[in-house]
Symmetry: D2
């Protein structure tokens, strides 16, 4: 009578059937539930107020798309066993579990030097123990150690289910409708050739559009200059806090203290689950509370930046293709110094240059392969006559100059 | 060259032109910016993961719809001066400013006994000072003291722009597509008759659908039993904390201490802006941190509930139309007592009954008027032959019994 | 290598997998292909220009939804054999095959007195011969002669896949977004109890919304007065042609002549396939050509009406709840007589009264059953406390008075 | 009381306010109303069943977008007088009026050698007389004789409102969601520089996406091989009929006879309105009736092709980048000859080669200009680093080989 499959409403994909078995164990785990408190797009909501969506939704969405993809591949007689299917799904479910607060924004700054992928592996390692080896194959797949390589590519490649979900989801929630991609069509075109994920010939235009949409989302959303301004401000705050802490001039919030007082290596995370337990408690809310506290700090810089951040009085940003003129930077710093009556060194928290780069397509990573009817396999870079792959694959570097508005007054 | 109007992407309504002048002052005010950190739907995201949208977005959306409505009314030769138009827009922008963390969920529990409308008035009073009387008319309108009553009805009535926005927005973000209403059509049908907002005759079916959609959203989202379970758990936690505080058994977080140690009246808020300044600092994140701390509390109840809340191990809820059987409640409490080894009194935090009520339409409030071509004005209750207004306007009361799952094992 | 399943893009439901086997035979049959030339909504596109969609699309859409429904029912352990599943799908595919030009508008006027359902049965009878009995079970199901009654209800009941598709489709193409219904959710809630299709308890609000949306579509689209004006004009033209033909004053187009010169009975259609072959040639285009020719007719009435129809100079329509005043009609007819210099009798083609009726829900037909968790089955009329089923099930009759604009000048 | 502005529901753009004044005269003209019977995408609905939309809807949609564009330009202080604004709107309304049945498919084959643009001019010339010169300026604009060139570019250029509407509309109705473009955003970015329409710098990614979407629609819809198969079959039928007519072996339907018996020049159309009156009577329905009749023709080829066309038994099509091998063609023709027992010459109606070409962007036409903040104006070809404009602007030629399936058995 009671139909055990739980269904969740996803505004992006419609109804999603929730995982059962090990998947259900994972979804209900506190380490997975915490993703509800980590915004997918860091500070992008300062520019796109709708962008409040979380890693939790994204993980479920990517899981859903992977389910679709597996069904399509099976219908094309690609051999995928039930255990492989379960493992890919577990892997995609967990692929972002290592993300910390504000996703990429603060990556490497709370546990210094550690990437979110390493944290993901660590989480999986410990969950695997709880599940008594139930994640063995999932871990192999995510680490690309599993024999059928195309399973890894579903999770991590230039046309993985992760990207398909996040591009569609980010478009949806930001309202940048031009980023919308036809996930349904792309997935219908998926196939496997030579143990490699490939796209059927007639899907070529969809792939071109996918690459263009991805590029558009990069410059319009992910690297939008006001989004960057917010994220760099957040980073600047943490940098200042870190400096003060090491100068013994700042008492840190407990959780942050733990991580900054201990220089952790990847091995620690793997061997000592208590670190993950603590890390799992640091979400967007936690960080926002630190900053609220720091608005009251005695340190002029820290309180100044924290206040402005909370009230969304952000840095100004100037962007160009070349590094910014040192003289201009110096001049802006002078202004900042005078304005806040601070030292030259201190002004580097208020005026600094940084860069962001992006290539829409990489010729080094797993390629996007087009499978022709005659069996030929071609890299999209060669299959597409319109996309200038030289350019697509070239790093586009943009140089930002961040500064407080007072520098230009 | 520089076109000063700022445009914001709203996934619900498309492009929204940001307010200028006083409106811009308000939007950039820290008191308005804080709405970014207050989820529109409290804990609904525990059931509908997409529902992370905020009062900030909603306020801008309602502002946008009000703009549309004013344009429509003007095109029908309804007299609205520029100053009136500006004031309605300022009023709608601020209509939800008094909301605290998790919107309705915690209403009245942080500043005990104070409704969010009172807080809204308080915020407006102080902002009015900052704007040197610039909100005088907006305040009159929101308080329904202004001569043209229909302006107030745009902000607060059974067919106000507030409802139009939140129904559409909540449908959009929860993915409950059936709650979607045709805001564009309804607004095009608006008119004014006898100083009352009215809907042109041919809009009658749209209004019927609006009422049905509203009812659907109530039972499917706002009063969904798991949503309630989460919200009642949150309330139960705060109730326990409040009890412990007054027993001197709990040291409160600073901000909460301030409010619970001082019994504030509405007058205090009006006269002493510092309260608002403090209240404005309490957002969803702040509360989530309290609960995280309380997971470590010595109090068995408080830590138990806090842990479960964070890990989304919620109350079970049974719903019925009649009050729940006292005997059953007693029996469940016994189970809870045994399970946690607590007293009878303490078990009331884990097992309790509550009720929620809703009427889709009120015959006492501002009616929804249908304006016929012959000039006749009819309440939708009389104009619609399909909607059973007796029922629509009857309070539907549902009784919940909340308890921890262990009570039924 | 070649994956034989053909996929068709449906703007309403997304990708639809085309039927295979017998279903493919049917879809490729000239009798099915002709549905491409029969607009789903007759003349509604005169008011809603987007409403050019056809019975072809609708038949595929209903087929798709039936597929979904069968899958859902099976997942709930309802016993449906492969052969039953195939037969319901064939039945829904053909359920509208008997529709003639402009769908309902001209029903019964080309083959006088024959309903489209009878034509559907006739087409199925002959297709069944071609398929050597392959439609036996499908015919039993559509005629409600099959033991499992719920299979018939999927095709024809107050909550059948036919209605779910046409409401959604008609909303989509007219752009009346308020008619949109949540087909996905409703289908997910379907179940069978007591050999009757039923809806799970928590689907009750969706059903309410479905009934309201249906009613809205009736008055806003299907019975919109300008749509009626166009359809009644078309009928008036055919009535005039029929009169003239029987007066030997009009040479008919060949196909029409065949049908009006032979008084066919249902039996003829069943026994003599040639009639269907001829009928199948009469589509919207064919009729439009007749009318174009008739613009040149010697008969003043016929040419007048035909010209106006083509140029979309339609009747005016006045609607009321009571029959129209005879005196007024007489007076309008006088005007029309004078205007065209015609007889009193002839004026009845230009000025006439008619009525349309609709009930949103019938208490006599197959009810919509709600299945409660305790196993109780309740008619939605009793389950819903908001819908005034007395009213919903009451025929709403509206009386139209059609006349040429000159009558009021 | 009565608000004279009529509103029409467009499923693509929402509510469209119908033109008033001269615009209303035109919309209600029989020459404009006939566009209701001309499908925007010819035979594309054989592949995309939803694609039944008409030139009528498209003309209103382009009108709507032009209205938006004018508003945006005015808000940026571009000088456009009321009379200019009215004239551009009249011009866009009429820009497709010269289209005949099945739009591009039969262009030049009914009135041999005449392009639809010439017919548009002819229609406008005669409507201008009816309006006593009211279209003078609109004609100047559409012919690019008007001083402000950017007004012409709104109607006809590589980023005109025509394209914006048809890409979005065709995507919508075919269900090829990937063709969707962000018309709203593009229009918001429009500006004028140097009397040329231009796009603001930050619109560059939207333009890239527009070009890619356009290309995608070309290969996925407009030049889809089954669509081509249908259109080439239709053309083949007409070619055969034309041949037979000139051999005195076929009595043509009256309207077609008129045009094929008279060799008309553009001048005739301009001087003698009766031709337009007759041409206006030839819509999709008319042609479909010809073909229905021809299924009964004595000519083996004509009846064979006509039957297959109606029953959607289309040509097979093979596509390649080089011309097809003559030998293969000869061999296929042999098969066709044998199959139908016809001559070598006659087989050319059943087996033939043709080509289609497309460039996504032309470097010769009006360029798409990007206006940088520093005032610099750059062709998108130079502004975009990702689009390979050499390729985009290169004609992509694809060679089709059409043949009946029997040729390959």
């Amino acid at each position: 009578m009671d139909h055990k499959i739980k269904i969740v409403n996803d505004p992006v994909h419609g109804f999603i059937e929730m995982p059962t078995g090990k998947g259900s164990y994972i979804v209900n785990h506190r380490w997975f539930q915490r993703l509800r408190n980590i915004k997918q797009l860091g500070m992008a909501h300062y520019v796109y107020p709708g962008a409040m969506h979380t890693r939790f939704q994204h993980s479920l969405g990517a899981y859903f798309l992977t389910q679709q993809a597996i069904e399509v591949l099976k219908s094309k007689d690609i051999d995928i066993t039930d255990s492989e299917s379960e493992s890919v799904l577990l892997a995609i479910l967990l692929h972002d579990n290592g993300h910390g607060p504000y996703s990429h924004t603060l990556e490497g700054s709370i546990i210094q030097g550690i990437k979110h992928e390493q944290l993901t592996y660590a989480f999986m390692t410990h969950l695997n123990k709880e599940l008594e080896g139930g994640l063995d194959k999932a871990i192999d797949i995510i680490k690309n150690l599993y024999s059928k390589r195309f399973l890894h590519q579903l999770i991590s490649s230039q046309l993985d289910m992760d990207r398909l979900d996040y591009l569609k989801r980010d478009s949806f929630f930001t309202g940048v409708s031009e980023g919308v991609i036809g996930t349904e069509r792309i997935i219908k075109m998926l196939t496997v050739s030579n143990d490699s994920l490939a796209v059927e010939e007639k899907g070529i235009y969809s792939i071109e559009k996918f690459l263009i949409a991805r590029r558009l989302m990069y410059w319009q959303v992910y690297l939008h200059k006001t989004v960057l301004a917010a994220e760099l401000m957040l980073l600047s705050i943490l940098r200042r806090a870190h400096f003060l802490f090491h100068q013994n001039k700042l008492t840190l919030p407990k959780l942050l203290h733990t991580f900054w007082a201990n220089k952790l290596q990847y091995e620690n995370l793997i061997m000592e689950p208590q670190w993950l337990e603590l890390f799992a408690q640091i979400d967007d809310a936690e960080v926002s509370i630190w900053i609220k506290e720091w608005t009251q700090s005695n340190d002029k810089i820290l309180s100044f930046l924290s206040k402005r951040f909370i009230e969304r009085k952000l840095f100004k940003v100037e962007i160009q293709r070349q590094p910014h003129d040192e003289e201009k930077i110096t001049q802006y710093r002078k202004k900042a110094q005078n304005f806040l009556n601070i030292s030259d060194d201190e002004a580097t928290y208020l005026v600094f240059s940084d860069s962001a780069e992006n290539h829409a397509y990489s010729i080094h990573d797993n390629k996007i392969n087009i499978l022709y009817k005659n069996g030929k396999l071609l890299d999209i870079a060669d299959a597409s006559d319109i996309l200038n792959i030289d350019v697509l694959s070239k790093n586009v570097v943009k140089y930002f100059l961040c500064f407080i508005p007072e520098c230009k007054e």
